[in-house]
């Protein structure tokens, strides 16, 4: 039942965890946030997601739902009468939203993440170029999906806004560390403006991590061992 207790196992810095948090906020669903300690996995997490042992995990009346985008769809369907629709209503638009969300996770984010592990200037440059290429593709996707409206989903933020927007904190940290803008007014004018609107959304603001705090965290987890 929609009124049953909701818990979310996650961590403040994880963009994937942000996704269901934004969705729950959009639907005004109160939940208990169970923060995992970095570097270890709780018994509850291992029990609730034995297959992947990853966060986020949504527990609704103690029944687990795993995989961030799947959780977002679950939230949209379970609390369908509350708040705006997270997924578009037309089957084709839904297929497009899912397609781009999959692209973001499987291609775009993978290249963004590999900037951290790139060795030397040559490799770093090559990976940055790859991310730029992906972001240009997403700029076009935004124009196609938004159809002149402020968000991928139209008038309100939705599934694809959440799927991409959750990475904005890490994107900014990467820009600072690499000294290279990934979103800007000349290269990606539409996405630049969208990013500001997304971060200002009341469902997003409380869960978007502070860039400085995230940068400090990134330094800690990506710290290379001293020779």
């Amino acid at each position: 039942m929609a009124s049953d207790q909701v818990k979310l196992i996650g961590a403040w810095a994880s963009p994937f965890v942000m996704r269901p948090r934004i969705a729950l906020n959009l639907k005004s669903v109160p939940y208990e946030f169970l923060q995992e300690t970095f570097g270890s996995k709780s018994e509850l997490l291992l029990k609730s997601n034995p297959v992947h042992k990853k966060i986020p995990v949504l527990l609704h009346a103690d029944k687990p739902v795993c995989e961030s985008n799947i959780i977002v769809e679950y939230i949209d369907e379970t609390w369908s009468s509350s708040g705006p629709s997270i997924l578009p209503s037309h089957p084709y638009d839904r297929a497009m939203a899912r397609f781009w969300a999959a692209y973001i996770d499987e291609k775009w984010f993978v290249s963004l993440r590999s900037i951290q592990t790139a060795e030397g200037e040559e490799e770093k440059k090559a990976v940055l170029a790859q991310v730029d290429e992906g972001t240009a593709i997403l700029e076009k996707a935004f124009i196609d999906c938004s159809k002149g409206k402020p968000f991928f989903n139209g008038d309100h933020i939705g599934y694809l806004d959440i799927a991409f927007g959750c990475f904005l904190g890490w994107l900014r940290v990467t820009e600072l560390a690499a000294g290279h803008k990934l979103l800007d007014e000349t290269k990606t004018p539409s996405l630049s403006k969208w990013a500001d609107r997304f971060c200002d959304d009341p469902a997003v603001k409380p869960v978007m991590p502070d860039t400085a705090k995230l940068a400090e965290f990134a330094q800690k987890i990506f710290a290379k061992p001293q020779p």
Binding site: K63, V65, E73, E77, T78, Y92, R94, R98, F99
Partner: protein, 219 residues
């Protein structure tokens, strides 16, 4: 106005099989267009510019890419007959989780098994069997993954069945020995008309893989 449905596919693909089964479940007539992946057609490149991969479903001129997204699209665009996903949100989430599991965990190891020899092949075989066992455990004693009704997870996995013989040959294992319940499930699925007419013939796949290996320079 009649719907125009086109499927761009490559016959051995366990992914294209999914879309074909979904279309057959809904009794949707479609124009099947075989693709040469070594010489990609202009329609393929135009309809899937991002990934340049099959299958591509084209519905009234608009492309939908990624097989599980296509299966869900087919279920939503042609609701009513033979629902492919459960209506309960929790059951739907479980179905999508397992479909995603097949994509993330089952496909990768199969590439290692028929790929270049050596350590990778053995590791691939071990991983593949482990993943199948996880799926078998999820199936339990149910008729299909979703219970009594054939659906999304069955569709996600059954395309691999045509590849079992060749994988066993290269991987040097017996899936029937390791996962008997899964084999029993597969045999039940194959009795279904939509599956029988969409699944590539196992013997053809077994002949095809050595040819493919030669073509991509492994052999």
């Amino acid at each position: 106005m009649a719907d125009e449905v086109i499927l761009l596919n490559y016959w051995p693909s366990m992914f294209g099989t999914r879309t074909m089964i979904a279309l057959a479940e809904k009794n949707i007539k479609f124009d099947y267009r075989e693709q040469d992946l070594f010489n990609k057609s202009s329609i393929l490149l135009e309809m899937n510019p991002v990934h340049k991969k099959i299958p591509v479903l084209i519905h009234n001129g608009k492309p939908i890419c990624e097989s599980l997204i296509q299966v869900e699209y087919i279920d939503e665009a042609w609701p009513g007959k033979n629902p492919l996903l459960p209506s309960d949100p929790y059951q739907r989430a479980q179905a999508k989780f397992w479909g995603d599991f097949v994509d993330k965990k089952v496909y990768g190891p199969t590439r290692l098994i028929w790929g270049p020899k050596g350590e990778e092949q053995e590791a691939g075989a071990k991983e593949f069997i482990e993943m199948l066992k996880t799926l078998e455990s999820e199936l339990g004693d149910k008729v299909y993954f979703g219970g009594e009704t054939f659906g999304y997870v069955d569709i996600a996995l059954i395309g691999f069945y045509s590849w079992f013989d060749v994988l066993e040959k290269f991987g040097n294992f017996s899936i029937e020995l390791e996962c008997p319940k899964l084999i029993a499930w597969a045999k039940r699925c194959v009795k279904r008309e939509s599956v029988a007419k969409s699944l590539p013939v196992s013997e053809e796949i077994t002949k095809f893989v050595p040819e493919l290996r030669k073509k991509i320079g492994i052999e």
